[in-house]
Symmetry: C2
Subunit: 326 residues, 2 copies
């Protein structure tokens, strides 16, 4: 396990992912409280909400008011998601949104049509338009992500070269505009990844883009989240999207049952890293508190494990005290 | 990943683990139906129930009647657990119980006292008595298991040599009686294992007992179950205890909240193996059916993932048909 990174960075997507997939709209102050609790944990960025059509996602209608309600902590970025120009303009016009230039591509045509009403090829055209918009707004391009990188519920197996091709295209297209794309993400949107496909695809992507940092956006749809993270860590991956308490899942991913479709769980994966001696800069106990707050707000048991069992800190402290060291 | 086994064997503990930890006693015919569904999946053995004090575990009072109610499938072993001589005699006297000679040891004194009311050293003495009893009953010794091998809620970190020492002692003690102990198990009773400690301990144990098959009994207490299984597979481990739908957890392990304390989930780990090209001899779709039956019986959402999201088979079949291959 010599390729393990010394330090891993988690990008928190729980508030947006979590409240977006729930049928209910939760009170504004509760959603703000969860964002505030997450900002206390050491996270450098929290994805707060999306600016999307109120028809498609009625839970995110009041994103402007949510950003206004948050008591901000210095040093933390409060980020947002948008899918079209209208959403981007709303995000730009909202005080408190820390804009980040992100572009998305598809490794699956069928999922592109389902999720974005265009082909994967047409999505490249849209990305060119996004690059123009970000340039006009003076926004740096921070990352490119390719969805359905490991497989697709609508198209089946996806050859790994397709995800690599999309990200290489993004990198080259940025370079042609004088932009150094710093991060490329592989997204296992529908829970098809396994440790072997993670290794294979990360390996191919690193060979294609050796100077670019690789991130993973994984879902724990079929219970392999932790195994996939381990495989990625062993390939030196040091960047993960995750959700507190395992909140989330894509409402358009075509699962019969959304319960198993959440993102990998922030606090469980932070526990994994810490137990393996990998730094995260995050306070696990505060993450557990935030996860429990999320559970109280959502009002049913959430999928996180450490939030229910607790970390090992108290047992170690007790054992240390009993042995006369404490 | 050159050390991956070609074939992995799962030992199903769901019925005993699951119904033992629930406060309710479920109707006999429902418990029998779950055992029968599991026997249809290709499993070679199912742990049905325990013969223990009705005072300590009132849910297992009617184990004799449960064994009598099961419609047996040829080629499947229907196993039981006992903790003392009285329980063993009850199991021996019960028609339909496939007896297997198992011995248990402790890597933690504090947990031995809590779980068995004796020290780890005294447990060795009890094992000698078990070996006598098994010899008298004409029973082969099948496996030795060491509990709290990776850490203990009551004692803290456990040096890996302690677990190895217990199993080496068991192996030697059996050898002195002319018994070749075929399997040794490391049990992560309280959810302390991580991929690094799994590799370390499995490596030490293999070095100490190179000719003995190594098994793992893992709990998914803190969300690392799948990562720990992956680490073990990469060390060549081909033997796992598991529970359908992730049922189970030890009621005496000292967790504040039992929800996160189940065993690793049979069908999720079978899915992991199959996706990585490792055979199990099990029918994943039938395991999913059994998991869903367990959920209907227990009456609340269980922790398995594949049982909720479904396997990838239907998506692959659909994609194959669309591409003209089906």
């Amino acid at each position: 396990m010599s390729d393990l990174p010394k330090r891993v960075e988690f990008h928190e997507e729980g508030p947006r992912e979590g409240f977006q997939i729930e049928p209910r709209v939760y009170p504004l102050e509760q959603r703000a409280a969860l964002v505030e609790a997450l900002a206390e944990t050491g996270l450098k960025a929290v994805q707060v909400a999306s600016f999307v059509s109120p028809k498609a996602v009625p839970q995110m209608t009041d994103s402007e008011a949510l950003f206004a309600a948050i008591r901000r902590r210095p040093g933390v970025r409060y980020e947002a998601v948008w899918l079209n120009e209208q959403g981007f303009e709303r995000a730009r016009a909202t005080p408190g949104v820390d804009l980040a230039g992100k572009i998305s591509l598809y490794a699956s045509d069928a999922f592109a049509r389902r999720n974005n009403n265009c082909s994967a090829e047409e999505m490249r055209g849209r990305v060119l338009r996004w690059l123009d918009l970000y340039a006009e707004a003076g926004l740096k391009v921070e990352r490119a992500l390719v969805m359905a990188a490991f497989g697709c519920n609508f198209e089946g197996e996806i050859p790994p070269a397709r995800a690599v091709d999309e990200l290489v295209w993004a990198h080259r297209t940025c370079a042609e505009r004088g932009i150094v794309l710093p991060k490329v993400y592989l997204a296992d949107t529908m829970g098809w990844a396994n440790p072997q496909s993670v290794r294979r695809l990360v390996g191919m992507l690193r060979e294609a883009l050796p100077a670019t940092r690789i991130g993973l956006h994984l879902h724990d749809t079929r219970g392999l989240g932790a195994a996939n993270v381990l495989a990625a860590l062993e390939m030196g991956v040091d960047l993960f999207d995750s959700s507190i308490a395992g909140l989330g899942g894509c409402p358009f991913a075509g699962h019969g049952d959304s319960r198993g479709a959440g993102n990998i769980c922030t606090e469980d994966m932070v526990f994994l890293c810490h137990e393996m001696g990998i730094e995260t800069g995050l306070d696990l106990e505060k993450l557990i508190e935030a996860a429990r707050l999320a559970e109280r707000i959502i009002g049913r048991p959430l999928g996180g494990h450490v939030m229910h069992a607790g970390s090992l800190a108290k047992y170690r402290a007790r054992a240390g005290a009993a042995a006369g060291h404490g």
